[in-house]
Symmetry: C2
Subunit: 329 residues, 2 copies
DNA sequence: ATTAAATATGAAAAGCTTTTCAAGGAGAGT
DNA sequence: ACTCTCCTTGAAAAGCTTTTCATATTTAAT
């Protein structure tokens, strides 16, 4: 591949002059300028971003670490990131972690080697190894998903507790006596846990005794929604079910339909996430919609502001919205 | 951020020695080695990949250009790419083109600047500007989606015509008299066009007169499936509908159910893509499953082989499979 | 016509790592 | 004791671009 010396030789000028033409950084004799432009055009020469990055100590690259890009939430998130990054002439290096803390830290180290200007990380937990890495790194960090407080971390997060609380309150407001829940795994500080607590709070506020509450913990899969719905019905005849994500809600509906229980007439169902399926399914599924695309945009904006040294918001909230569809009317 | 000179100073050795320790490239006095390792550990130093890349003329980075990452097909594709790249210690720079040729070429130019080792491109058309770029670039190129023949391009593609032909034949084999189709946009050489031709071929082979064939062109959205199903029924009472993708198939089913037409008893429906929704929907949707994840894996394998100078397959086929579900039983 | 100012241009250094080359030191063999 | 090897180690160059600095040339001004 050609370098700037080659171009200079072809145009009969010095590398400095070529650089000046490319970057419009100083006056160049018009005739020479034309000669250089012509050579650039003919050769399709592009300056080596590695050399530039080395010089400026800046790569115009952001690292993005998500658990799984094929999850629609994260692909929307990444889409927002890519769009906003592009508009600010940044590119993104995309890495997936499978939600494994070890691999997450591995990603950080590789991104550090590649000298990305910032890292956007969708993760659930901050282990000591994460923190150790952060301590040794001065790369701006934006964390999405959990409400982390650690040094100069910027965190973008959804108030899962409140969103879940609102969803359950919405069901009670329809005159439901008792709402059951299919939760996600209840790790401390996880999104699934907060959603469960929101459910708890709303239920207690509606006069349900905590002992009488019905909830089963699933694992966010359709199958677990199906099976936990079964378990719930074996235990009690409830009027509404709130699931910690849409897949489990759809699994639950599937079980109900398979057993000739009408949704929403007999049992109302509300999910969480607004998966594209929610809209299409019959009956369409009421759910909490989170704008992951916008979250991605905000993450990039925060990262760029941080590395440009302007602005210093540390906590950025994500908007959500209850979408009412057939499953809970 | 620290550089290798700083580490050398801290450990009381020369940069060369630090380099030797990091890369295990030569014998180093054990005592010094320990000192260096200790400093590395304490500082969390990582060598600058830009400098390395400059030296070796190699970045261990692949460029990936897809139309839209939030499309499940492409996110599966990218997932496969990322996994296989990682296993070969490559990273990926992800860019989205929105299927706009101008932006695609823009992406190529940025990726060239960043000196990626190879480019994987999911696109539909090869304009003159694409070709001009390719002529000026010696970066290995893997194109996914269309059967491109241009210089040293490697192309990974699905035989859309044959897949569609098989799907329609499958419907006729069920004793259907006439199959209607909801096509995608019929640009020349596009996937949508090939799927239409496959439908044509299978229909003619089953004795349908081309004049009597019913097909409506949609735009791959659910809405267009819904509306085109209506148009088809206004024209003729068909027994089966083949849609060029699952979204349109689901839109069609929705229209049928809304109008009390039973699927599959009254009308059978087959889609294309095996969108995750296809499996979950009631009735579940028969479709053509394409392994996009594996396509991504193969793309990376081909790219790496090419840039390592081993192997030189130019055409790599993608496997597909008819998945029979409730909508066509 | 002469000096000051402005314009244009190239050489060189910086940014960071790796590898080659040369040299120093230690150990072994005669 | 001397020479030959082998092992260690550091200096320096290469990879590419940009910017500063100094030089050369032209223009303007007196």
């Amino acid at each position: 591949m050609l370098n700037i010396r080659d171009i200079a030789k072809l145009a009969g000028v010095s590398p400095a002059t070529v650089s000046r033409v490319i970057n419009n950084s100083a006056n160049v004799n018009e005739e020479k300028r034309q000669r250089v432009l012509e050579v650039l055009e003919q050769t399709g020469y592009k300056p080596n971003a590695l050399a530039r990055g080395l010089l400026y100590n800046k790569t115009f690259t952001l690292g993005v670490v998500v658990p799984d890009i094929s999850n629609i939430n994260f692909s929307e998130f990444v889409k927002g990131i890519e769009k906003e990054a592009r508009q600010n002439s940044y590119n993104i290096i995309l890495m997936t972690s499978g939600n494994e803390p070890e691999r997450e830290v591995e990603c950080f180290e590789i991104l550090k080697e590649k000298r990305v200007d910032g890292i956007i990380f969708a993760g659930t937990i901050l282990t000591d190894r994460h923190k150790q890495h952060l301590d040794n790194s001065n790369i701006p960090f934006v964390v999405f998903g959990q409400d982390f407080e650690y040094k100069s971390l910027i965190s973008i997060n959804l108030d899962n507790l409140k969103a879940s609380y609102d969803a359950v309150r919405y069901l009670y407001s329809k005159g439901i006596k008792k709402v059951a829940m299919i939760t996600g795994p209840l790790w401390d500080k996880s999104a699934g846990y907060d959603r469960y607590i929101g459910f708890l709070k709303a239920s207690i506020e509606n006069g349900i005794n905590q002992r009488d509450l019905i909830y089963k913990d699933g694992d966010f899969t359709i199958t677990s929604g199906y099976e936990n719905m079964k378990k719930i019905l074996e235990q009690d005849r409830v009027e509404a079910v709130f699931a910690a994500n849409d897949f489990m809600a759809l699994g639950a509906i599937k079980y109900l339909l398979d057993n000739n229980i009408k949704v929403p007439q007999d049992i109302k169902v509300v999910g969480f996430d607004d998966n594209p399926i929610a809209k299409i399914y019959t009956p369409s599924l009421s759910t909490i919609k989170i704008d992951f695309y916008n979250a991605g945009v905000l993450a990039v904006k925060a990262a760029i502001k941080c590395l440009d040294g302007i602005g210093d918001e540390k906590r950025i909230p994500i908007e959500y919205e209850i979408i009412e569809r057939q499953s809970s009317i």
